[in-house]
């Protein structure tokens, strides 16, 4: 293009310094006395950046032993150590609580945990479905859906705000009292699962919603621009990506749900915690609770490790994808 006379308003002129003489001092001026640092090594230490290696393993082993040793010392040296050991960690009581003895009036904690597992699995499936429905309703924009959208918001506010144990009492005691055919004649386990589903669906629907929001709007545009109707765009493009993004928080909620099946015991259902409670009342020893705790750990720890692995796999996949 042709030349144009430089004027003071022309932005191109701002980039070049005024001609003649040294540039004036300003925030951008280079310090003429600056020298590069002589060394980047911190005196008296090895490299802090490299945490791994053999010395790292030694350090971590020693520190683990010190911490565990200190904790064991506190426990063993405490004035009541013998009493607590007998009350909570008696091998004989733990075994008896585990196998149970109905003739003595207590139930097997080992058998009762199966009820927790069953309640957990059924509740989990129902929660996944109900929570998704609530999340989709709350995400919808159609004017005709306004009433149920408001209802869903109220639902989530309510069940996230009320303590789970109160929901369990309300369902477990209230629904039978209604004396309705069928619904009022269910077992306490059913009412317990119902309460778990109602409460957890409120939480999990928020997780879903975060997942749906995490999928960029441009993905919706891409799907819709190809002529896919809203429903298909959701099903094939948005939802698969949303679910992938929320697997770690979902599993986190399910670890929590596994434990909270113990709360259903307040209705008298013989699940692991209730069985342990009965044992302690019959035999005056709390080792049964230790058994229940160990059984819950056996259930939750694998799920926690599985979650870690999924997160790690996702991280690796994305890193691999970033490479050209």
């Amino acid at each position: 293009m042709d030349d144009h006379p430089p004027g003071p308003a022309d932005p191109a002129d701002l980039a070049t310094p005024p001609a003649g003489g040294p540039p004036e001092a300003s925030a951008l001026a280079v310090d003429p006395d600056w020298e590069p640092p002589r060394s980047f090594v911190r005196a008296g230490r090895g490299s802090r950046m490299l945490g791994g290696g053999r010395s790292g393993t030694v350090i971590s082993t020693v520190s683990t032993l010190v911490v565990l040793g200190a904790l064991a010392a506190i426990f063993l040296l405490a004035p009541g150590a013998r009493a607590v050991e007998h009350a909570f960690f008696s091998p004989q009581h733990m075994w008896q609580a585990f196998i149970g003895n109905p003739k003595q009036g207590y139930y097997s904690v080992g058998a009762a945990i199966w009820l927790n597992i069953r309640m957990f699995i059924i509740a989990e499936i129902l929660i996944l479905a109900l929570a998704l429905l609530i999340a989709l309703i709350r995400q919808s924009t159609h004017p005709a859906l306004f009433p149920i959208r408001t209802l869903s918001t109220g639902y989530v506010d309510f069940f996230r705000g009320v303590p789970l144990i109160l929901v369990i009492f309300a369902i477990g005691l209230g629904v039978p009292a209604l004396s309705l055919p069928f619904v009022s004649n269910q077992s306490n386990a059913v009412y317990g699962v119902t309460a778990l589903v109602l409460s957890y669906s409120a939480y999990v629907s928020e997780v879903y919603r975060a997942g749906l929001n995490s999928v960029h709007q441009s993905q919706v545009a891409a799907a819709r621009s190809l002529g896919l109707p809203q429903r298909q765009a959701l099903r094939f493009v948005i939802l698969p990506q949303a679910v992938r993004n929320i697997i770690p928080p979902l599993l986190n909620d399910f670890i929590s749900l596994q434990k909270d099946t113990a709360l259903v015991g307040v209705l008298g259902t013989i699940e692991a915690n209730k069985a342990a409670d009965i044992y302690s009342e019959q035999v005056f020893n709390f080792s049964s609770f230790t058994v229940a705790a160990i059984l819950f750990l056996i259930l939750t720890i694998p799920l926690a490790r599985f979650t870690d692995r999924l997160i790690e796999r996702d991280r690796r996949r994305r890193l691999a994808g970033a490479a050209p």
Binding site: M1, S218, A221, S225, L226, Q241
Partner: protein, 263 residues
């Protein structure tokens, strides 16, 4: 037509009847008026490039033609039918109007092949085998035959954008809208995408192209429209618009482009 002009004639068959007609199009986002009365007519087989600074309304204009953005007033007609009239099914319109975005927007959880076959199997209701056969042929035509099993993350930007073009073409659109399709690419990857667009133009595809590639616009377009602040300031054949822009605002824009070494 003189021989010199003839050599400059863009590739593709001669233009036909009117494909797109835009009249008095206004669009605001909140208080931000993005389009302030656009009038534009695009003939079948015609390639028109939209140039202008970021924020001048190029992308919004394309999105309005694809009905991705509801318009405030005015009209968009395709083949003589007002598609902005109430009762229009946007999904039916979009089957015939493909759009490709600056940021590719491939579906990251699907392979390249599935990206391309999703809409044909779901919207055109082709049997899967047939859709895959068509997709493979299209991918092969644009040098992507060996990428069909890969996930988008594994591809270069240029390859991803070519897949995005193929994905749009798999719906067999009669019109293609290209929204700054090379702006997110590394410089060495721009050419492979522009080659694909040239091939489309040569095959007679009607295209509305928003672009910052002035040299490309000069080569491929039959007309170039310069947009500023939501209005078409100048609409002329590229030779005319780039060599002797009439409007002062066009002159200023092109001067900046030249200063930046982009023309």
């Amino acid at each position: 037509m003189s021989p010199a002009e003839d050599a400059r004639r863009p590739p593709g068959p001669p233009v036909g009847g009117e494909a797109i007609r835009i009249e008095g199009l206004h669009k605001s986002f909140g208080t931000n008026q993005v389009l302030r009365g656009i009038d534009l007519s695009v003939a079948t087989h015609e390639v028109i490039c939209l140039i202008g600074a970021s924020g001048s309304g190029k992308s919004t204009l394309l999105r309005c033609v694809n009905l991705l953005e509801p318009i405030d007033s005015g009209r968009v007609s395709l083949w003589g039918q007002d598609v902005t009239a109430p009762g229009t099914d946007p999904n039916l319109v979009r089957r015939h109007v493909g759009i490709v975005f600056q940021s590719f927007n491939l579906f990251p959880h699907m392979t390249v092949l599935r990206n391309v076959t999703l809409a044909p199997t779901r919207v055109r209701r082709l049997p899967r085998a047939e859709a895959e056969q068509e997709a493979r042929a299209l991918l092969a035509r644009f040098g992507l035959a060996d990428k069909q099993a890969d996930y988008p993350d594994r591809l270069s930007g240029g390859q991803q954008q070519r897949v995005a073009i193929v994905r749009a073409l798999a719906m067999r659109p009669q019109i293609m809208l290209l929204d700054e399709v090379t702006s997110a690419l590394d410089p060495e990857l721009v050419a492979e995408v522009l080659d694909v667009i040239r091939e489309l133009a040569a095959s007679g595809m009607t295209m509305l192209i928003a672009t910052h590639e002035m040299g490309f616009a000069r080569d491929i377009a039959r007309r170039v429209c310069f947009l500023e602040e939501g209005r078409i300031i100048e609409d002329a054949p590229p030779a005319e618009l780039f060599a002797s822009p009439r409007d002062e605002r066009t002159q200023r824009f092109l001067r900046r482009i030249v200063e930046a070494g982009r023309l």
